[in-house]
C-alpha cells in the first residue's frame, strides 16, 4: 500500500505541480528514494553531494521530525504520511559568527560553517588533503576563536601557529612593552620592535603570517573584574601567563565560564602542559589546590628560561587548542605532560578530577572570581615613594646608597643573586652570597656592620632581609629595585638582563 509524501511549494515544479506524491517502501529512506526515482530533479535539492540529506531539508513522519526517530531508517506503516518541510535560512556575507554567539565548533553542522576562499584553499592545502582536517575541519578552524593570555614566551609560538593554521579569531591580552630580554624566546617580536607595545608587534606579525585571521588585542592586565567578559567571546583560552595569581585566575574563570584552558608553563629547562577545565576533566586546582608560598618558585625573570623551551610548550598548547576545535584525537585532558629539555624526555602524570575541588568539584565553594593576589599571599605594593627617598627604615634607594658610598660611609653590600647573574652586572664593592646559601653562610657577615642587601629587582633581597633579621641583624636595608634600579638611576654604563 503506497504512502503519501507532501511536497513543499518550491519542489512542486519537479513533481508536475503536485502537492503530494504516492510512493512505496518500508522505511523513510526507501520512500524518499522512490520519490527521487520518480522525479529525479528533486535529488540535488534534497541530498548533498555526499549522499546525505541536506541539513535544511526537514522530513516529518506524520508530525515527528525523523531526526528524533531513526532518521532515514525509520520504518513506515501503511497510512503513514511523510512531509518534506524546508528550513529556510540565510544570512549576510562574512560568515564568522559574532563573538557573543561563538560556541565551540567541534560539533558544528558543516553547512553553517564559513566558506574558504580560493586563496585560503591553496594556503591550507596540506591540511585539506588530510581526512582528519579536510574542508570541514578547516572551516571549523575558521569559525573558531582562541584567547591567548600573554604574548610572551608561550603566547608567541602558540599564536603564530594558530594563525598559520587558520584559526579564525585570535585574541591576545597583554600590557607589556617589548624588551631586549624578550627576544631570546618571544618570536612574535623582533629587534625593531623593542620599545613597542607587545600587542602592536604581535598583531603585525600575525597579520603578516595570515591576513585571513582576525586579531583582537586587549591592552590590559587580566583581572577578576574583566576576565569573564574577556573570555566570553572565545572558544578556547590559552594560558601563557608567568605568575601564580594570573594562573589561578585563568583556571577559575575557565571553569566558571565552561571554557577549556590549554595550559602551559615553563621554568629553566622544564615545561608542563595540560588541558584543564574541559567538560568532566580536572582543573589546575585539582592538581594544585593551593599556590606555593610567595617567592618559593622564582619567575623566569629571576630563574631564567631556556629560550627554545617555550617553543616546545607553546606549540603543544597550540596543538591541543586545534585538536579541541577540530574534535579530533585524544586531548591532553586528565593528563599532565612534563618535558625536560636537558634530558630530552617527556613524562606523563595521570590527573583526576577532584570531587572536593573548590572550583570544579561537586560542591564548589569558589563560584565567582576572587582576589588572586591575596589568595597567593602577595602583599600589595607599597605606595609610590618620592624618587631618591628611603621608603622606610628597612629600605634604601640606589641614589641614597651611592651618596653614602661617595661620602665614605661604611656600608657592606650583600648581593644575594646567583653567580652567573653577578657576572653580568653588579654594584661595585658588593659581596655575593646567593640566597640559597645564606642560611649556612650568614655568619661570614659582621652583624654589627650596616648591611644593604640587593638582588636583581628587590624580591629575593627582601626575603634575605627577613631571614637576616630573624637571626639578629638589625642594621640592615633592602636596595629598592635591585641592580636594575641601580643601573637606571646611578650607573647606566652596565648592561641589564
Amino acid at each position: 500500500m503506497p504512502n503519501t509524501i507532501h511536497i513543499p511549494t518550491p519542489l512542486r515544479p519537479f513533481t508536475d505541480k503536485k502537492e503530494s506524491v504516492e510512493v512505496t517502501g518500508n522505511t523513510v529512506g526507501e520512500l524518499l528514494t522512490d520519490l527521487t526515482t520518480r522525479h529525479d530533479g528533486l535529488k540535488k535539492h534534497l541530498y548533498a553531494e555526499d549522499g546525505r540529506l541536506r541539513n535544511f531539508v526537514n522530513v516529518y513522519l506524520n508530525d515527528e521530525d525523523i531526526r528524533y526517530l531513526e532518521r532515514e531508517a525509520t520504518p513506515v506503516k501503511p497510512g503513514d504520511e511523510l512531509s518534506i518541510v524546508p528550513s529556510v535560512a540565510g544570512g549576510a556575507p562574512g560568515t564568522v559568527a559574532p563573538p557573543a554567539a561563538a560556541e565551540a565548533t567541534a560539533g558544528a553542522d558543516p553547512e553553517s560553517l564559513p566558506e574558504l576562499s580560493q586563496e585560503e584553499i591553496q594556503r591550507y592545502s596540506r591540511h585539506l588533503i588530510m581526512p582528519e582536517v579536510g574542508m570541514d575541519g578547516q572551516r571549523k578552524l575558521k569559525a573558531s576563536s582562541v584567547l591567548c593570555v600573554g604574548a610572551g614566551g608561550l603566547g608567541s609560538p602558540a599564536a603564530m601557529y594558530l594563525a598559520a593554521a587558520g584559526v579564525g579569531r585570535i585574541g591576545i591580552v597583554d600590557f607589556d612593552v617589548v624588551d631586549f630580554s624578550n627576544l631570546q624566546r618571544q618570536l612574535l617580536h623582533g629587534t625593531p620592535d623593542v620599545g613597542r607595545s607587545k600587542l602592536e608587534s604581535a598583531k603585525d606579525r600575525l597579520r603578516a603570517l595570515n591576513p585571513h585571521v582576525e586579531v583582537d588585542t586587549y591592552e590590559t592586565l587580566l583581572s577578576s573584574e574583566n576576565a569573564l567578559d574577556l573570555f566570553a567571546p572565545y572558544d578556547v583560552i590559552l594560558d601563557g601567563t608567568d605568575n601564580f595569581p594570573t594562573r589561578y585566575l585563568v583556571n577559575d574563570a575557565c571553569v566558571i565560564s565552561g571554557k577549556p584552558n590549554a595550559y602551559g608553563s615553563i621554568f629553566r629547562f622544564e615545561g608542563q602542559a595540560s588541558v584543564f577545565g574541559a567538560k568532566d576533566g580536572p582543573c589546575y586546582r585539582c592538581l594544585y589546590p593551593e599556590p606555593p608560598p610567595p617567592g618559593l618558585v622564582p619567575s623566569c625573570a629571576e630563574g631564567g628560561v631556556f629560550g627554545v623551551l617555550p617553543g616546545i610548550i607553546g606549540v603543544i598548547q597550540a596543538t591541543e587548542t586545534i585538536k579541541l576545535m577540530l574534535g579530533v584525537g585524544e586531548p591532553l585532558v586528565g593528563r599532565f605532560l612534563i618535558y625536560d629539555a636537558l634530558k630530552m624526555r617527556f613524562r606523563e602524570l595521570k590527573l583526576r578530577k577532584d570531587p572536593e575541588c573548590p572550583v570544579c568539584g561537586t560542591n564548589p565553594t569558589v563560584t565567582e572570581l576572587i582576589d588572586y593576589e591575596q589568595f597567593c599571599g602577595i602583599r600589595p605594593e607599597p605606595a609610590a615613594q618620592p624618587a631618591g627617598a628611603a621608603g622606610n627604615e628597612w629600605e634604601t634607594t640606589p641614589v641614597e646608597l651611592k651618596r653614602r658610598l661617595d661620602a665614605g660611609d661604611d656600608v657592606f653590600i650583600l648581593d644575594v643573586r646567583e653567580p652567573n647573574e653577578y657576572q653580568i652586572n653588579r654594584v661595585p664593592g658588593s659581596t655575593l652570597i646567593p640566597l640559597g646559601e645564606l642560611p649556612r653562610r650568614y655568619q661570614e657577615l659582621d652583624a654589627e656592620r650596616e648591611v644593604v642587601v640587593m638582588c636583581k629587582m628587590g624580591g629575593r633581597s627582601a626575603q634575605a632581609l627577613d631571614f637576616l633579621r630573624s637571626v639578629g641583624f638589625s642594621r640592615i636595608k633592602n636596595l629598592r629595585g635591585g641592580v636594575l634600579a641601580w643601573i637606571d638611576t646611578v650607573d647606566p654604563s652596565q648592561p641589564k638582563y
Binding site: L11, P86, V88, A101, E115
Partner: protein, 151 residues
C-alpha cells in the same frame, strides 16, 4: 531574466521590518501568485547562530506560511530577509541554503536605514543565483538598481 513584482505596500513592509530588527536580520514570507507578491508575512528569526548575520525560519513557521498562502488562494513565492550593514547580494550561506523556485528578496539595511533591495532565484544546478528584475506595481518601468552578482 524573471521578474518579481511587488504590489503596493510590500516593499515598504519589507524595508520597515528590516529597520525594525536592525542590527539583527529580519525574515518573512512572500505570498502572491504568478510572480506578483501581494502580501508579506513576517516571521520570527529563530537562528541559533547569531541574528546579526543569520536568519532561520522554523519548519513550523514555514508550514504555517504555506497554509496561510493556500487559505487565501495564493501560494508561497519565496522569502525575504535583511542584510544589516551588508550589500543586498546573496551570500554563500544563502546559496547553500536556497530552495529552487522561490524568490529570495534581500534588503540591505545600513546603519538602521533600509537601502537597496534585490531579488534572486537559485539556478537549477544550484551553482549560483540568478538576479530577478524587481519591480513595484506602481513603478513597473523602473527596476530597482542593484549591483551585478557575477564576477
Amino acid at each position: 531574466m524573471t521578474t518579481l513584482t511587488l504590489r503596493s505596500g510590500v516593499a515598504d513592509a519589507i524595508r520597515g521590518h528590516g529597520a525594525e530588527t536592525y542590527p539583527d536580520e529580519c525574515c518573512g514570507a512572500l505570498i502572491g501568485r504568478e510572480g506578483v507578491v501581494t502580501d508579506t508575512y513576517s516571521l520570527p528569526n529563530m537562528t541559533e547562530e547569531g541574528p546579526r548575520r543569520r536568519f532561520r525560519v522554523r519548519p513550523a513557521d514555514y508550514r504555517e506560511a504555506e497554509r496561510q498562502a493556500a487559505a487565501g488562494g495564493a501560494e508561497l513565492l519565496g522569502f525575504y530577509h535583511s542584510h544589516p550593514d551588508h550589500p543586498a547580494r546573496p551570500s554563500q550561506y544563502d546559496l547553500d541554503h536556497a530552495w529552487p523556485f522561490f524568490s529570495y528578496v534581500i534588503v540591505s539595511v545600513c546603519g538602521g536605514v533600509p537601502e537597496d533591495m534585490t531579488s534572486w532565484r537559485l539556478k537549477d544546478d544550484r551553482s549560483a543565483f540568478d538576479q530577478e528584475d524587481l519591480t513595484n506595481a506602481e513603478h513597473d518601468s523602473h527596476p530597482h538598481a542593484s549591483p551585478p552578482l557575477h564576477g
